[in-house]
Amino acid sequence: MEGASGSLLEVRDFAIRYGKKQTVQGVGFSLAPGEVLSLVGESGSGKTSVIRALLGCLGGGGTICGGAALFEGRDLTQLSEEAWKKLRGRELSMIFQDTGAMLNPVRKIGSQFIEYILLHTHSIKTKEEARKRCCTLLGRMNLANPESILGAYPFELSGGMRQRVGIAMALAFHPKLLLADEPTAALDVTTQAQIVAELLRIVRESGTAMILVTHNIGVAACVSDKILVMSGGRVLEYGATQDILHSPKSDYTKKLLASVPTLGGRRYVE
């Protein structure tokens, strides 16, 4: 693996445990600015634990029990709560599978988004300015009528629109690193294709690096520079996307790739 020079994030020998049970061990990778890495693997492989740990928000009593995650030289595993507050949202941010679950259901999107902008931006002082900023950000996500979105409650939007709002919020402060946990898994296929394209465009425009957790090998293949395959909490394979797809080394990766249904592939029936 490459050295620390020039890399945005350097994860070394990372280990996570829940109670006494160690679920992730020996995970290591590096990410350059603007690079896209996909973590693929099946449910329970530990991929979500890894990115949650990177954002310092492991749930269910999980703790990081070994290794280091150097973000621009600072070890994320050793940060104080105060230091985290300065990082989250601005330097590192996250989008989840369902943004609707992240938003407060009884407040309009506008009031939550404006509050978020005002809390984190010193240059924006008034609600009116913040509202304008929200509209610009939503417009960038191809949301046709940003004003009406701000006036809506989360449940009034479709899943695809909610996910666009989540991405707009996550990228509001041009973070250096975006962590995306299955951002399109709950969406219809045409919506998924739209959102992946928009996400990738914005990430490229703003030079944000991204770690994408997905079980959709097709999505990983299309968006990422590097792929890391996980199983049972360990790294089975890590390398450039083309190498992983065309010359997988581990049997697990080979089996995983062979199970992906493709148009014009081998039929199950006559």
Binding site: E42, S43, N142, S158, G160, M161, D188, V189, T190, T191, Q192, A193, Q194, V196, A197, L200, H215, N216, I217, G218, V219, A221, C222, V223, T241, Q242, L245, H246, K255, L256, L257, A258, S259, V260, P261, T262, L263, G264, G265, R266, R267, Y268, V269, E270
Partner: protein, 322 residues
């Protein structure tokens, strides 16, 4: 296998409407007709809100249709009531998307698998254990799983139990409503292989509701594409890539290739309109790139453009796109 198999299920001009406030109507299924042949996998694809779940519930007589017929071996099952309907349910069983929610968590697998047979008085007490073990073996699970509870199994194992339960009554049709979409790809692969083997051995007909076009193209014989309650296209699954309807093409274009081509799929914009506010003309007109004047005026009828290939589109030009 012969192509001229017997028609097992025939749907004729099925309509299902739900009344809304203020006298408005939500049309979930709008005049749908199709035939399913015995022993084939008939796939119904479309995005959420296209009416596929309502269609299936209506086919199973869980909803009464607003109009139209569902003929099972020539008999209209929408007219069945009481005991006749209960007996009919033996012929059609279901496998649902979420195997964790499909079982009573307090029942052991033995009780889960014996229940359908006991409901119809088909199980002698002395043979109960043996029958359950045979069912488990038929879905490639160890016989001692009979003593487990659903939460002690993985998602793939639970889905196999769900298939075993559907098999218990030896139905002619099994409806799989997104039965593999919650599973990991390698597990999905093994479950689909199992379904294919059961079909070969027992001649079961599957109604396979699915949104994964790649999977459908590999597992089904026939595909019906729905949009906003209407049939857009029906064709042979093996020829799915020859689809002519702009909506089917958009669905195909949304599939991410896993070959490392690094091409982000280019697909249609926007989202499906509300079923309570259907466009006057073609249901797909609001999102179609090839939409012309007539599309906004008149809904296109299904026409046969090649043997077994039906398309509902005004555009008669062969499309070379994709």
């Amino acid at each position: 296998m012969s192509n001229e198999r017997e028609t097992i299920l025939s749907v004729r001009h099925l309509v299902k409407e739900f009344p809304l406030e203020g006298g408005r109507v939500l049309t979930a299924v709008a005049d749908v007709s199709f035939d399913v042949r015995k022993g084939e996998t008939f796939a119904i694809v479309g995005e959420s809100g296209c009416g596929k779940s309502t269609l299936v519930k209506t086919l199973l007589n869980l909803h009464a249709p607003t109009s139209g017929e569902v003929l099972f071996h020539g008999e209209d099952i929408t007219k069945l009531t009481g005991e006749a309907l209960r007996q009919h349910y033996r012929n059609v069983q279901m496998v649902f998307q979420d195997p964790a929610a499909a079982f009573d968590p307090k029942m052991r697998i033995e009780e889960i698998l014996a229940e359908p047979l006991e409901n119809y008085g088909l199980l002698e007490k002395s043979k109960r254990r043996q029958t359950v073990e045979e069912l488990l073996l038929s879905v490639e699970l160890p016989a001692d799983f009979a003593d487990r509870y659903p939460h002690n199994m993985s998602g793939g194992q639970r889905q196999r139990v769900a298939i075993a339960r559907a098999l218990a009554l030896r139905p002619e049709i099994i409806v799989c409503d997104e039965a593999t979409s919650a599973l990991d790809v390698s597990v999905q692969d093994s479950v689909v292989r199992l379904l294919a083997r059961l079909q070969r051995e027992r001649g079961i007909t599957y109604l396979f509701i699915c949104h994964d076009l790649a999977l459908v193209s590999l597992f089904a014989q026939r595909v019906l594409v729905m949009y906003l309650g209407s049939v857009m296209e029906t064709l042979d699954a093996a020829r799915l890539q020859e689809a002519r309807h702009p909506y089917t093409q958009a669905l195909l274009a949304s599939v991410f290739p896993a070959d490392g081509a690094k091409v982000i799929p280019h697909t249609i914009r926007g989202e499906i309109p509300s079923a309570s506010d259907r466009p006057k003309g073609c249901p797909f007109a609001t999102r179609c790139e090839r939409c012309t004047e007539i599309c906004n005026e008149k809904a296109p009828a299904l026409r046969e453009i090649a043997p077994g290939h039906f398309v509902a589109c005004h555009d008669e030009k062969p499309c070379t796109k994709r």
